[in-house]
């Protein structure tokens, strides 16, 4: 405990980024019992190097741990499997001291070798990890990614419980990267024994272990009796039932058969649930690090003209679009959601002003109107949102023909740069970690603007990229404010160029059965969706 406090104090002194105080356990929490969580889709995989959808993300969090972690219900970093860490003055060398006596589910003690193995594994191309790119700042990443070697030269085991990670460039987001599921520590022998099936036979250090997986039907997690965080988890068991339509899950919740409908409240039933006081009391509302936006491809006419892009920003009636989704969002003024550090609070965005928008269109030479295409993913409510945008654009003379396609096809068109406009709903963007950098490089920076990248506007400004790199090189904790100010400046420059029309920031509504306990924050945990399984409990 003393060491932890010492490490927390140290990290606080470094202040990079905000690191949580010790979490105070809920005095009302009771041990034991189980819950039932439902999902429509199968669980894809529980391999932490591979799982990258919002469904398996929180499940993997409960099975595995990384060196860093977040205080439950918050976006504040805290040490996980690391007992403490130090950062060199130039911000390039991170030395992690691991907790001793942490056991994998197979009974073996976790060591520094496991940390090294896990990072090598996630970055090696044969693993096919969608998260490999997050580790690009570690020295030697390129050699591993290109298949030259299978060991990261920047990750060195310096003691049985000590790992030293050297970066090729300063990276202010590195501790967040170490808290991603992709950085989870896995035991080599279990991975090798399971081969390609490790995702079905996961072995970690997490609060729960996988007891049963009946394909297409259910998964059962049971409490890890040897969990290294004392007194956790509270639940004995979690049963995930898959293949359940959200509407059926809601009916079963009302019937007392389900505790958390993992896919949330179906839109068609939302008003009914919220109008009924008994049911509304079971709903927890929270924010999430999400922005829904309209991209405009800066390489395609008419959106190669900045005046047209600005006009579109002024033409969209955000409040009406929010009504379409039952008010489940706040209007957005800029790329970052307001709960994200770096958000520019005193910026009002483009005001809804059809007259001014028309004037801009006329000025740009489109007084007689122009025709274009709007791509949208074909699941509700996205087509309805696209129709609202279409109607708004018609007001300023833009005829947008809607291309209503499957998710994969929209992503393909966006990546290839053939889509003039895309409504991002159902695809982008929810932050991987709570840092402003995560909203830039892949979706607004030059790196994502290449063929296949997620920067669907194909907006690329080298000078902003340079500013971003400079901001992320600010690792001195005393200058954290300066770094956020630099990010704010970048996003303001983006808004000037208007490659996007930010529309709304979605809110989150989690429903739970009356028997479930724990602070509301655990049910809208920004990192674990839908709930933080390690800390919730049942009251009967």
């Amino acid at each position: 405990m003393n060491r932890l406090l010492a490490s927390t104090a140290l990290a606080l002194a470094l202040g990079l980024p905000a690191v949580a105080q010790e979490y105070v356990p809920d005095p009302a929490a009771t041990m034991g019992g189980g819950i039932v969580v439902t999902y429509k889709d199968d669980v894809a995989t529980l391999d932490p190097a591979i799982g990258y959808d919002w469904q398996n993300w929180s499940m993997i969090k409960s099975l595995f741990d990384g060196l860093m972690d977040y205080a439950p219900g918050t976006t504040e970093l805290r040490p996980g499997l690391a007992d403490s860490y130090t950062i060199s003055e130039d911000g390039l060398v991170y030395t992690f001291t691991l907790r001793s006596g942490v056991m994998f589910h197979n009974g073996r003690e976790m060591t520094a070798e496991d940390v090294k193995y896990s990072l090598d594994r996630v970055t090696t191309p044969a693993t096919l990890s969608p998260g490999a790119g997050f580790f690009a700042s570690i020295a030697g990443f390129d050699a591993v990614a290109s298949g030259e070697t299978d060991s990261l030269s920047g990750v060195a085991v310096t003691g049985p419980l000590e790992v030293q990670i050297t970066l090729a460039r300063p990276d202010a987001t590195f501790l967040h990267v170490m808290a991603l599921n992709f950085a989870s520590v896995v035991p080599r022998e279990a991975v090798e024994a399971a081969g390609d099936d490790f995702g079905r036979q996961p072995v970690g250090t997490g609060a729960f272990s996988l007891a049963d997986w009946t394909l297409g039907q259910s998964l059962t997690f049971v409490r890890n009796e040897n969990y290294w965080r004392e007194g956790l988890p509270y639940l004995d068991q979690i049963t995930f039932e898959v293949g359940q339509e959200p509407i059926v899950a809601l009916l079963r919740l009302q019937n007392g058969e389900v505790d958390v409908p993992g896919d949330g409240i179906p839109p068609a039933k939302f008003q009914e649930v919220m109008d009924d006081p008994a049911q509304a009391a079971q709903v927890v509302q929270g924010g999430q690090l999400h922005t829904g936006y309209l991209t405009m491809n800066v390489n395609l006419a008419p959106f190669d003209n900045v005046a047209v892009r600005q006009a579109v920003n002024m033409a969209i009636n955000k409040d009406r679009i929010i009504q379409i989704i039952n008010g489940r969002a706040d209007p957005a003024t800029q790329p970052l959601p307001d709960s994200m550090p770096g958000y520019t609070a005193d910026y009002a965005g483009y005001a809804y002003d059809v007259e001014a928008a028309r004037a801009l269109m006329a000025e740009a030479g489109f007084a007689d109107g122009v025709e274009t295409e709007l791509f949208v993913m074909n699941t509700d409510p996205n087509p309805r949102i696209a129709q609202a945008i279409q109607a708004d654009l018609a007001e300023i003379g833009i005829t947008a023909n809607i291309q209503n396609l499957a998710q994969a096809n929209v992503i393909e068109a966006g990546g290839a740069g053939t889509a003039p406009m895309i409504w991002s709903g159902g695809m982008a963007w929810i932050a991987d970690f709570p840092d402003p950098a995560n909203f830039y490089a892949p979706i607004l920076g030059c790196a994502g603007a290449g063929d296949g990248g997620w920067n669907w506007s194909k907006y690329c400004r080298e000078d902003l990229d340079a500013m971003a790199a400079a901001a992320d090189a600010i690792v001195d904790p005393a200058m954290a404010e300066e770094r956020l100010a630099a990010w704010s400046e970048i996003y303001m420059a983006v808004m000037e160029d208007a490659p996007w029309a930010p529309v709304f920031n979605e809110l989150r509504y989690t429903m739970r059965s009356p028997r479930m306990g724990g602070a509301d924050a655990l049910y809208v945990d920004p990192v674990s969706i839908p709930v933080n399984y390690d800390y919730v409990y049942v009251t009967e």
Partner: protein, 306 residues
């Protein structure tokens, strides 16, 4: 018979080959890149290319398809792109549920369809007949998504007679089987009715009546076995129709069959699963048709296999 069987087997194999080719071509030209789905949104161009290479998706179509066929010959359906599990394992885990549902649904549609068909034929032209035929028309045309939700709401939520979706017991089976069976029962009722009417007009029925057999005996012993023949022959063909309905019904009732698996795979461009489910379904349809043709001469000696 032997030569006939051999020819039909070769034909069946060619049909399956054709199905595999067409599906593979369609998935190949689809404007959606499976590698992007695997690589995720944070992948760099280099990561995407290395994944493409690892999976052999950078090869030309002929090489990819040839490789797939070669593995298929060894009964290897490959690994799912997103679940990373063996496709054969994923299908094998779900096939029993689908077969059970299909068996129960066939039973449902036969029982309902044949009974209604006989009743309608016997009361031909009267209000009861017309009522039943309208009903069968509704059963055939009602969208299964609506029917399944309706049955679920009334019998599971309101009346509480059955569980709200899921799998495991006989109670779980009733509603999805009924939903699927209702559609088919409409067809069968109409077919049974006309077949029965034809048979009832036949000379041997008149003879049977003339020699003084009771009405019940004439219908059950003489008319029914003859009238039911064309209906039985339909079952094999029916499997194809079922495969379509099963996707919807399995999704609504949370029935862990291959329809649900296929639906999820299509949304995520998980090509190995889509291929696997398509081939297994095609195999079921081809086998069903073959079986129906082979059994036909035993039911109706007038049919000769050539």
């Amino acid at each position: 018979m032997g030569a006939y069987l051999l020819r039909r087997l070769v034909q069946s194999a060619l049909i399956l080959l054709g199905v595999s080719f067409i599906t593979y071509v369609l998935l190949f030209i689809l404007p959606a890149d499976p590698v992007r789905q695997i690589a995720g949104r944070s992948a760099t161009a280099a990561t995407v290319e290395s994944i493409r290479r690892e999976l052999g998706l950078d090869q030309p179509f002929v090489v990819q398809y040839g490789r797939y066929l070669w593995n298929l010959l060894q009964l290897d359906l490959g690994r799912s792109y997103l679940q990373r599990s063996e496709v054969s394992e994923l299908i094998a885990a779900r096939l029993p549920a689908t077969l059970l549902l299909m068996g129960a649904a066939i039973l449902c549609e036969l029982l309902i369809g044949i009974t209604l068909g006989i009743v309608a034929a016997l009361w031909r032209g009267r209000a009861l007949d017309q009522g039943l035929m309208i009903l069968s028309f509704v059963a055939v045309s009602a969208p299964q998504f609506v029917v399944s939700l309706l049955l679920l709401y009334v019998f599971a939520v309101q009346l509480g007679w059955f569980p709200i979706g899921g799998y495991g017991t006989f109670e779980h089976l009733v509603l999805p089987a009924l939903t699927l069976g209702l559609l088919g029962s409409g067809w069968y009722a109409r077919m049974m009715r006309s077949s029965m009417i034809d048979v009832l007009r036949a000379d041997f029925i008149r003879t049977a009546r003339a020699i003084g057999l009771t009405r019940t005996r004439v219908i059950l012993r003489h008319a029914l076995p003859n009238a039911i023949l064309p209906v039985i022959a339909m079952i094999g063909i029916d499997i194809g129709i079922f495969m379509g309905g099963i996707v919807v019904v399995e999704s609504v009732f949370g029935w862990p069959g291959i329809g649900q698996l296929a639906w999820q795979a299509i949304q995520r461009v998980d090509i190995p699963i889509i291929m696997g489910v398509t081939l297994v379904s095609a195999f079921a349809i081809v086998a069903g048709n073959l079986l129906a043709d082979l059994v036909a001469p035993f039911i109706d000696p007038r049919i000769k296999l050539r």
